[in-house]
């Protein structure tokens, strides 16, 4: 009997389905929130290590509870709404950021079949929700009615829209290989897809450049350095978050890190073979898929933190140049290359139902 089926037997069809999904949502959201807390701690530890410091080491063993202490401190502060702010929009903005950052996790497969919503347009859902994430920032920037948040909001809107374009093209290449928009299908399509032994699109020479570009675009989409212009503390103090305090600031912060963690999970799903081991070799499958997935997420997160500690921030015009003049033509050209290869040298398009005979 399925998990949902057990609930439906005991509580009736409708309420059982509702209860089952509620527990499943909690089973994703709570680990994500704990993961966010640990990610913040890991981030600070990695930067500290790269700068020969100790990092947080006072609260709890090895400073593990530092983030919880910071969160408690934030929650106890007073929420301040500036007098000139547009109150409703000002309060809505952090909520939108946070809710979208959690909603995007609904389609993430953690193991074979371990996914809350197995949508057949899963990747489009991810793209849609991540493209809506810009509203939290742009609304907060406008509603604060203050110069620095406004500039931060505008910068962020322009940045995220620009980089979404090339992100879309990169996703198209992955979709063409997997012949599906479903994230689980995309993972399963990577089983032994290179030389019959390597699992993962990144080992495919045609998709390797896409994987590198996706990593950089993911940095830009999550406003991570070197693309953290919306926050740019040197020029804009803290960008769109300047006027926020207490809980409303915490929601932005949690949403931002939940998005980063999601990108750290999406890159393995798209390019590193998700819950599959890197080699298609039977003994490696003895390790549960969930463990592989978490390990890959951890590696990706380390890369995110590494980049932040290692590189300086982009200037705004250079950021736009990179997005529109480098990544957009490159990814568009590469989609043509990938689809040309699939068209003339493989049978991918011949097996699709509803095919057109040319």
């Amino acid at each position: 009997m399925t998990y949902t089926g057990w609930f439906q037997n005991n509580f009736g069809d409708g309420p059982g389905w509702f209860l089952a999904n509620l527990t499943l949502i909690l089973a994703i959201v709570l680990p994500v929130m704990v993961g966010v807390a640990m990610a913040v701690y890991a981030d600070r530890k990695i930067w500290a290590a790269m700068q020969m410091r100790r990092g947080p080491n006072v609260v709890g063993p090895f400073g593990l509870l530092q983030t919880f202490a910071d969160a408690a401190k934030l929650f106890l502060k007073e929420t301040i709404i500036p007098a000139g702010a547009s109150r409703a929009v000002f309060m809505l903005a952090p909520m939108i950021s946070f809710v979208l950052a959690l909603a995007i996790w609904a389609v993430m497969p953690f193991d074979a079949g371990v996914v809350l919503a197995d949508l057949n347009v899963g990747l489009l859902y991810v793209f849609a929700v991540s493209s809506m994430g810009v509203y939290g920032i742009i609304m907060s920037g406008w509603a604060s009615n203050s110069k620095y948040p406004f500039l931060g909001g505008l910068r962020s809107a322009a940045q995220m829209v620009s980089y979404e374009v090339s992100m879309g093209f990169i996703l198209v290449a992955v979709i063409l290989y997997a012949q599906s928009l479903n994230l689980s299908d995309i993972v399963m399509a990577q089983q032994g897809n290179v030389l019959g032994i390597l699992n993962g699109n990144i080992f495919n020479p045609l998709l390797f450049p896409m994987a590198i570009m996706f990593f950089i675009v993911a940095l830009a989409e999550t406003n991570r350095p070197p693309f953290d212009l919306p926050e740019a503390e040197a020029e804009l103090v803290a960008g769109y978050q300047v006027e926020y305090s207490s809980m409303s600031f915490a929601l932005f912060f949690l949403g931002e890190y939940a998005n980063i963690l999601f990108m750290c999970a999406l890159i393995p799903v798209l390019f590193l073979g998700g819950w599959l081991p890197p080699l298609d070799w039977a003994p490696l499958y003895l390790v549960p898929g969930f463990v592989w997935m978490l390990a890959k997420m951890a590696v990706m997160f380390f890369c995110f933190a590494w980049v932040k500690a290692a590189v300086p921030r982009y200037r705004y015009d250079q950021l736009m140049r990179l997005g529109w003049k480098v990544f957009l033509p490159l990814s568009l050209f590469w989609v043509v290359v990938v689809s040309g290869w699939l068209m003339f040298f493989t049978d991918k398009f011949a097996t699709v139902p509803g095919r057109v005979l040319l």
Binding site: G14, S86, V89, L119, N120, V121, L124, Y125, F127, A128, S131, M132, V134, Y135, I138, M139, W142, F150, L154, A157, A158, M160, V161, E164, L181, D317, Q318, R321, V352, P353, G354, R355, V356
Partner: protein, 210 residues
């Protein structure tokens, strides 16, 4: 089924309410935000019809890109509400005429509406053939039966895109553009020179002012 009907009325109600609020809000930024809410609910209606691909596309294209640019422009407009309201009575007859035409057209459209051809609420009209997802079905139709129309629509958009760039692009004088290729290609050998000037001789700076 009741959930579907409930969702339909929820989406439809929020959609129409937010559409009304788009035109009644005093603040143009609030108008755009209500427009986004109505786009989002239209996406919900698509999902109820079983057109999940269209729903996602609506949200990606309209909510994720078009409305962001709307918001971008509206936020930077400096709107004076007094001058906006000044022309209200002068433009009222024109506005009434336009809305009268639209109303007449809607009445005509509803007049030829055949209730018999309308599918029952919650029923999904048609649906893709077996073994095909919605996305593949749309692709198969779009790139075969409607290829010409599809490509023509793409060309129209391309022309609009190029037109917008041609109209707004201006070359400014006296701007020192960054040449990233030249910057990266620079080496110490090409940019520095080791000299040992004689006492009182000075250094010849010719060719070093680049």
């Amino acid at each position: 089924m009741t959930t579907a009907i409930f969702s339909f009325y929820l989406f439809a109600f929020v959609l129409i309410t937010s559409a009304v609020l788009v035109i009644t809000s005093k603040n143009p930024v609030h108008s755009v935000l209500w427009l986004i809410v109505s786009f989002f609910n239209a996406g919900g209606l698509f999902i109820l019809l079983g057109a999940e691909f269209l729903a996602m596309l609506l949200i990606i294209v309209y909510v994720g890109a078009v409305a962001v640019l709307f918001l971008f422009v509206v936020m930077m407009l400096d709107i004076d509400f007094d001058t906006l309201r000044k022309g209200f009575w002068k433009n009222l007859p024109l506005g009434l005429a336009v809305s009268g035409v639209i109303l007449a057209e809607m009445v005509l459209a509803v007049g030829v509406w055949e209730p018999a051809r309308v599918v029952a609420m919650g029923a999904q009209p048609g649906g893709p053939p077996a073994g095909m997802s919605n996305t593949q079905w749309i692709g198969a139709v779009l790139y075969t039966d409607y290829l010409l129309v599809f490509q023509a629509a793409g060309m129209v958009l391309l022309v609009a895109l190029i037109g917008a760039i041609v109209l707004t692009h201006r070359t400014r004088e006296g701007v020192r553009r960054q040449n990233i290729g030249a910057q990266i290609a620079r080496t110490p050998g090409g940019s520095t020179r080791a000299v040992q000037p004689a006492i009182g001789g000075g250094v010849d700076l010719k060719g070093m002012d680049k």
